[in-house]
């Protein structure tokens, strides 16, 4: 294949190849391509063809990490790739991976943007200057202190893209950036990338969702089996590549595919739709279990603490129903699913047994093998596991994977396993939250088809339970909702605005809800959605007699057809962050320098070690708890602190007073009885131990509550900790709330599938399994993000806001040094005295002071 435009190319690969360490054959071979400034190139191909490997190879992420073997020549600009250090590479190429949230390295928007420049040594002034333009270019609010957890999915993707390019790299490589975005978010991101290309960058996107990416690409590369198959430009209906893509199983843009099939230009689809409006479409409304009574689920109401929620006066569902929950961002779809599953709101006493497959199915996979995963729910309901496992595996096409470890499977396979595991638990109502997210079209179709079969009915004695299964799924994908649901529930700001057949629901959809292009045409033309369905059916199955009229340019357009609407650039949002989960911005206003804070905690530790009297330790505990008064929820924080201290003191006093009695031996494992003798010295010692532990814990909690991870990281570096080590600590610190939430989610999933939770180490390991698996994946993504942004453990970072000690910080540090040094000296002298090693008469007054007060 010819390499076009090598002159001035920002990326040049000549006969490049790569083999992974454990692979027999190379993943890539003989790849040659170049990218010039101003180009936006789309790289597509079937799953596993090497697209992601090519991207990572070009970004320099595969050298030195995986141990694989790279071949061929690779240049970034005029420099060979292997000659570039991390900083120089970050200045030349920006890489963005698949999971946007897992690539976040910091807690605020400003810090995220400046991470790369700080790693490559950009001066602080330059870092501060890049923030505003970067936010504007990315279409993000001008708020550098905004916590990243408060951003929607699309905003995070745009932020990550901006952050990756912030070091000034003119070459952007993005790996499936649209995977988790809704159509509007995808279009917004593509528009952003187009703007960057027009501003002089070279952009290479790997994507198999061509709907949004194809229109903005200058040329498209198709890859198969580790090699570049062809390069195409100006792809429209009738282009030869379309047939190639069909053969490779790629999902073509609907309008392009339709126009190609009809032999029309894209513009001719309006008339074709008008013509198709008169064609019969498939019967609507699946049997909602006409032979079964519908479930009256009653009112569904829930209000979130931060506002928003759901308020439905009543809801009826029929067994066998396939219901799509639709609505814009924040409409309440996930909340309604939570209510129906019992995760939210009061426990439902009546109604069908409902089971939820969460948006992230990984957290519901906690068994070592797929077979055990499926059997878990069957055993919990007392059903023989083997038949249920086989039935569910067959229904979801995972029979071949029964002996595999769930977390070793692909994303689509994991989702099917999660659904199969849910089916094995024998629910009557299956709830899925965004099952299409991150799936390609083939995977989505396979899953929805399996659900349709399950919803069709389970005969008596079926291993998966009796009676038809009702399926409710929340989705942003209107196309999926159109094809696979026989009833729509459309929510808008927590209220039900439509409940009925899909085809008539188009008009009820909120204007802000992004529609696929074909449906957007229908709405613009004032046509019902069935027109699009009919046209698609005709294009798929129809003969010439059906298609010819549609191809006619005399197809009628309705009078007063609306002008084309530009869909609002909205995006699907992540769940709104809870207030107590957001990191406070890194602000010095009213706060101590992070180094001073860490030193305070160190001093508390020294004091706790040196003090022995319970009264002194109690005073220290109070001092360490004082900062909690300015925590986000002070009463709650102080109350929890008081409970913690009380529990520690009580249990430690009890254990020391009862079990270390007058006999100087240890032992006595009998349970305490009312008249048990109590060792007073043990009570005192136990109280001291407990207060010591409580003081240190409260000091640490005060520090972590009031100090963002980024500040702590810089504080540690300022105290002499190696930057890379401080980064590890900050990364671990930032992960704590996420891990905690994931553990809770896993337990909830176990509870919903298994009823009573087991309490033994094996059950605890089951809870840990999915969380650890997620952590392992997250670690790889984080590592890629770090390396892509120039992280070098040997190079110090240049911080955007260098730490400066003011007078108060210096005073605190001096006081801490004095207190800690004095306590250590006094304790040391006292130790020498009590151990009969050494005592100077001049120190006797000090020793007496220590004995009396400390």
């Amino acid at each position: 294949m010819e390499i076009s435009g090598e002159e001035g190319a920002l990326l040049r690969l000549v006969d490049a190849g790569y083999r992974y360490p454990s692979a027999e054959a190379p993943q890539l071979a003989g790849v040659s391509l170049s990218l010039r400034p101003g180009e936006l190139v789309l790289l597509t191909g079937p799953t596993g063809c090497g697209k992601s490997t090519l991207l990572r190879l070009a970004a320099g992420l595969l050298s030195g990490e995986g141990g694989g073997q790279a071949t061929g020549g690779m240049w970034l600009g005029d420099a060979p790739l292997e000659a570039l250090g991390p900083a120089e590479r970050a200045r030349r190429v920006a890489f963005v991976g698949q999971e946007p949230h897992d690539q976040l390295l910091t807690a605020t928007v400003g810090d995220e943007l400046c991470f790369g420049p700080a790693s490559v040594g950009a001066p602080p002034a330059a870092q501060r200057a890049l923030i505003a333009p970067a936010l504007t270019a990315a279409g993000l609010p001008q708020d550098a202190a905004r916590p990243v957890v408060a951003l929607s999915g699309g905003q995070v993707q745009r932020l990550i893209t901006a952050a990756a390019a912030a070091a000034g790299a003119p070459l952007l490589l993005l790996d499936e950036p649209l995977a988790h975005l809704d159509p509007a978010g995808a279009r917004a991101l593509c528009a952003d990338l187009r703007r960057r290309a027009e501003a002089g960058a070279a952009v290479l996107i790997v994507e198999h969702r061509l709907e949004a990416a194809l229109p903005v690409a200058d040329r498209v590369l198709t890859m198969v089996g580790g090699r570049l198959l062809r390069e195409d430009r100006g792809i429209g209906p009738g282009h030869a590549v379309l047939e190639v893509w069909r053969g490779l199983g790629l999902s073509l843009p609907v309008e392009l595919q339709l126009a190609d099939r009809l032999g029309l230009p894209i513009e001719g689809l309006d008339a074709a739709l008008c013509g198709a409006a008169g064609l019969p479409s498939r019967p609507e409304g699946g049997a909602e279990g006409a032979a079964h009574r519908a479930w009256d689920l009653g009112p569904q109401r829930h209000t979130h603490p931060g506002g928003g929620g759901v308020d439905l006066s009543g809801l009826r569902l029929g067994p066998g129903a396939r219901v799509a929950l639709l609505g814009g961002n924040g409409a309440g779809k996930s909340t309604l699913i939570g209510l129906l599953s019992g995760r939210l709101g009061p426990a439902r006493r009546a109604g069908p047994r409902a089971l939820e497959v969460p948006q992230d199915p990984d957290l519901s996979l906690f068994c070592p093998t797929v077979a055990e995963e499926l059997a878990y729910g069957a055993r919990a309901r007392g059903a023989p596991p083997d038949p249920a496992v086989l039935a569910a595996a067959e229904a979801l096409s995972v029979t071949a994977l029964l002996e595999a470890a769930p977390h070793a499977l692909s994303r689509g396979q994991r989702l099917r396993v999660a659904v199969a595991a849910a089916l094995c638990a024998g629910p009557a109502l299956l709830l899925l939250d965004e099952p299409t997210s991150g799936q390609d079209e083939a995977q989505v179709e396979a899953l929805m088809a399996a659900l349709a079969r399950a919803a069709a009915g389970r005969p008596p004695g079926d291993p998966l339970g009796d009676g038809p299964l009702a399926v409710v799924f929340a989705t942003h994908d209107i196309g999926v909702a159109l094809r696979h649901a026989d009833r729509w529930l459309v929510l808008d700001r927590g209220r039900l605005v439509y409940d009925g057949p899909p085809a008539d629901g188009l008009a009820a959809l909120p204007a802000a809800l992004p529609l696929p292009p074909l449906l957007a045409r229908c709405r613009r033309l004032g046509l019902p959605a069935r027109a699009a369905l009919a046209l698609l059916e005709a294009a798929r199955e129809g003969g010439a007699a059906q298609l010819d009229p549609l191809r006619s340019p005399e197809g009628r357009l309705p009078a007063g057809a609306l002008a084309a609407e530009t869909p609002p650039v909205g995006s699907r949002g992540a769940s709104p962050a809870r207030d107590d989960e957001t990191d406070p911005p890194l602000s010095r206003a009213g706060g101590l320098d992070p180094r001073a804070r860490v030193v305070l905690v160190l001093t508390a530790g020294v004091a706790a070690l040196c003090l022995e009297r319970p009264a002194a330790l109690a005073a220290l505990t109070l001092a360490c708890a004082a900062p909690l008064a300015s925590a986000p929820r002070p009463l709650r924080a102080l109350g929890q602190a008081a409970l913690l201290v009380a529990f520690l003191v009580w249990s430690t006093m009890l254990s020391q007073g009862l079990f270390y009695g007058d006999e100087p031996r240890s032992a006595l494992f009998v349970l305490p009885v009312v008249e048990a003798p109590v060792w007073r010295e043990g009570l005192r010692w136990g109280a001291a131990q407990a207060l010591r532990f409580a003081a240190m814990t409260l000091a640490g909690l005060s520090l972590s509550l009031h100090t963002p991870a980024a500040a702590l990281q810089r504080g540690l570096v300022g105290l002499g900790c190696p930057p890379a080590l401080a980064l590890l600590v900050a990364t671990a610190l930032r992960a704590l709330p996420t891990l905690r939430d994931e553990l809770v989610a896993v337990r909830a999933a176990q509870r919903s599938r298994g009823g009573r939770l087991a309490r033994h180490p094996r059950a605890a390991l089951q809870t840990l399994l999915p969380v650890v698996a997620r952590s392992a994946r997250r670690a790889w993504t984080l590592a890629e993000s770090l390396r892509a942004r120039g992280f070098d453990p040997d190079q110090p970072r240049v911080e955007r806001e260098p730490l400066r000690l003011d007078a108060r910080d210096a005073l605190v540090l001096a006081a801490c040094a004095l207190v800690a040094g004095g306590l250590l000296a006094a304790r040391g002298l006292y130790l020498l005295y009590t151990a009969e090693i050494w005592a100077h008469p001049a120190t006797l007054p000090l020793l007496d002071l220590v004995r009396r007060w400390l």
């Binding site: 430690t652 031996r665 409260l698 520090l703 600590v729 180490p761 399994l769 994946r777 670690a779 009590t834």
Partner: protein, 535 residues
């Protein structure tokens, strides 16, 4: 006047009586082996002609009495008690001491020469002392005290062991425990010129402070005795007092104590130790301290108290353990200092995995710690055997999984280091002793991982299940054993804990090793399920 005294070992001060002199300026000459000292002093012009001091009963330290004083003397069951009056005249002259008009002593008194008069008190006595024309009178009031009343009134409120020479609890010392340091330690202190304890075998090894309370209406003069018995109830040979105030047969030491009515007093009783008479071996010796209260001048026992205590002898094993712990800690700290930069150059994916696993370990161990604290109130020191099944097993499982995912040198140590820093900033778990504890832990982990091949690369992760389990058990078990032993050694030294040998063995064998093997077994399927985690 000359006085010659041989000071007792360890005595820092001598009280030398200076004879009463007429008013004026005087100089006392003190001649010692170190030289001659002149000590000037003055006798005021208005000093009384004579000074009276009374020991009632005899044995009670003499107390100065003044003209017109009425002194109550308790007589147990009304039995007579000897009393002694010392008259110190400041001028010469005829001296007569009479009781109820009958002369007890008469003669010519020399200035400054004290006169001792003794008699037996049975009932109230009016005592008159006449020197020349000067007469001084005082009254002794006999108070019969029934024995039962005395027994009911007196009690040992507290027994402080060890105590200082004043009878107060010895600061910084564990109660009911005497420590005899290891011979090597004492030799080292001696060689360095350090050490503050008297090692003269003739000096008391320790003191016991006996606090006696008198709830009756009369003052009580008591004899307080202390003896040490061994496990068989016999006087412990090693604790027999030497010469001073000791009774050879019973091995007891005595002290005289006056306890005021409704008040309390503390007697400090010396405890002597003859190391040569100690039984062979190491470890603790359980003894019984027996305190008996008797009325002064009589054999009747008023009250007794027993207190078990232990003599902890310096253990070679404990010393070796402490040395090993300190050495391992220092070596580990050095290892971290030398190798940290190289470890931080591990692949970024490995570093991120370490960070996230440290985060998970913190969540697991924080919860387990609270659980263990609550459990300790039910099971005491044996709670660690139960809580370890949760805490240790989960932590080791995570560590084993980490090593299976990232089998490289430095991973385990870095995990320990990040875990420590994270625990410090989140839970305030920072302490000066961490240098030793964390350093030691890092060293043991790297050593265990290296010796068992866990950090030599991924080859071992492909082996059979048994071979992987053995490597994990041995490698991590060795590390856990070393770290646990170091922790035990350090905590017993820092906090002066005492742990029975069987308890130490149980803790090291259980949570220290066997639980690791269990965790390794549980971690294998866990890690296998994760080994091919797909992105």
């Amino acid at each position: 006047m000359h006085a010659r005294l041989r000071p007792a070992p360890g005595v820092r001060a001598l009280l030398l009586p200076v004879p009463d002199q007429p008013a004026g300026a005087w100089t006392a000459g003190l001649t010692t082996t170190e030289g001659v000292y002149a000590l000037p002093f003055e006798v005021p012009a208005d000093s009384p002609a004579l000074t009276l001091s009374l020991s009632a009963p005899v044995g009670q330290p003499p107390a100065t009495v003044y003209p017109g004083d009425e002194i109550a003397v308790s007589l147990l069951d009304g039995a007579p008690a000897p009393v002694a009056l010392t008259v110190s005249p400041r001028r010469a002259g005829p001296l007569v001491v009479s009781r109820d008009g009958a002369p007890l002593w008469s003669g010519e008194a020399a200035a400054g020469a004290p006169v001792l008069v003794q008699w037996t008190l049975q009932d109230d006595d009016q005592v008159e002392v006449t020197l020349g024309g000067l007469s001084t009178a005082l009254r002794l009031r006999a108070q019969p005290l029934p024995r039962a009343q005395a027994q009911a009134a007196v009690a040992v409120r507290a027994l402080h062991l060890p105590a200082d020479p004043r009878g107060a609890p010895r600061p910084g010392r564990s109660p009911d425990r005497l420590h005899l340091p290891a011979p090597w330690w004492r030799a080292a202190l001696g060689a360095l010129g350090l050490g503050t304890a008297a090692r003269d075998p003739w000096a008391p090894f320790a003191y016991a402070g006996v606090e006696v309370h008198n709830s009756g209406p009369h003052d009580l003069q008591l004899s307080v005795s202390l003896r040490v018995e061994d496990g068989g109830g016999q006087p412990a040979p090693a604790f027999r007092p030497r010469l001073r105030g000791g009774e050879a047969e019973t091995g007891a030491v005595r002290a005289l104590l006056r306890v005021p009515a409704g008040g309390a007093a503390v007697a400090a009783l010396p405890i002597y130790l003859d190391e040569g008479a100690l039984p062979e071996g190491e470890g603790a010796l359980l003894q019984q301290a027996v305190v008996e209260l008797r009325a002064l001048g009589g054999p009747a026992l008023l009250h007794s108290a027993r207190r078990p205590f232990a003599l902890a002898r310096g253990s070679t094993w404990a010393s070796a353990g402490l040395a090993l712990a300190l050495g391992a800690g220092a070596a580990g700290a050095l290892l971290i200092a030398l190798r940290l930069r190289a470890w931080l150059r591990l692949p970024t994916g490995t570093l991120m995995t370490i960070a996230l696993f440290s985060s998970l370990s913190l969540i697991v161990s924080a919860g387990a710690r609270l659980f263990a604290t609550g459990l300790a109130s039910l099971l005491g020191p044996l709670s660690v055997l139960v809580s370890g099944l949760v805490d240790d097993v989960l932590r080791v499982t995570l560590l084993a999984t980490l090593l299976m995912l990232c089998p490289r040198r430095g991973v385990a140590a870095l995990h320990a280091l990040v875990g420590w820093l994270l625990g410090g900033v989140v839970l305030g778990d920072f302490s000066p002793t961490d240098v030793i504890l964390v350093g030691g832990r890092a060293l043991w982990l790297e050593l265990g991982a290296a010796l068992s091949g866990l950090s030599a690369g991924p080859a071992w992760t492909q082996g059979g299940r048994l071979s992987r389990w053995l490597r994990l058990s041995l490698g991590l078990g060795l590390a856990q054993l070393g770290a646990s032993a170091a922790g035990v050694a350090l905590h017993t030294t820092l906090y002066r804990l005492f742990m029975a040998d069987w308890y130490v063995i149980l803790v090291l064998a259980g949570p220290g090793f066997l639980y690791v093997a269990l965790a390794a077994a549980l971690s294998l399927p866990f890690a296998e399920a994760l080994r091919r985690v797909q992105r």
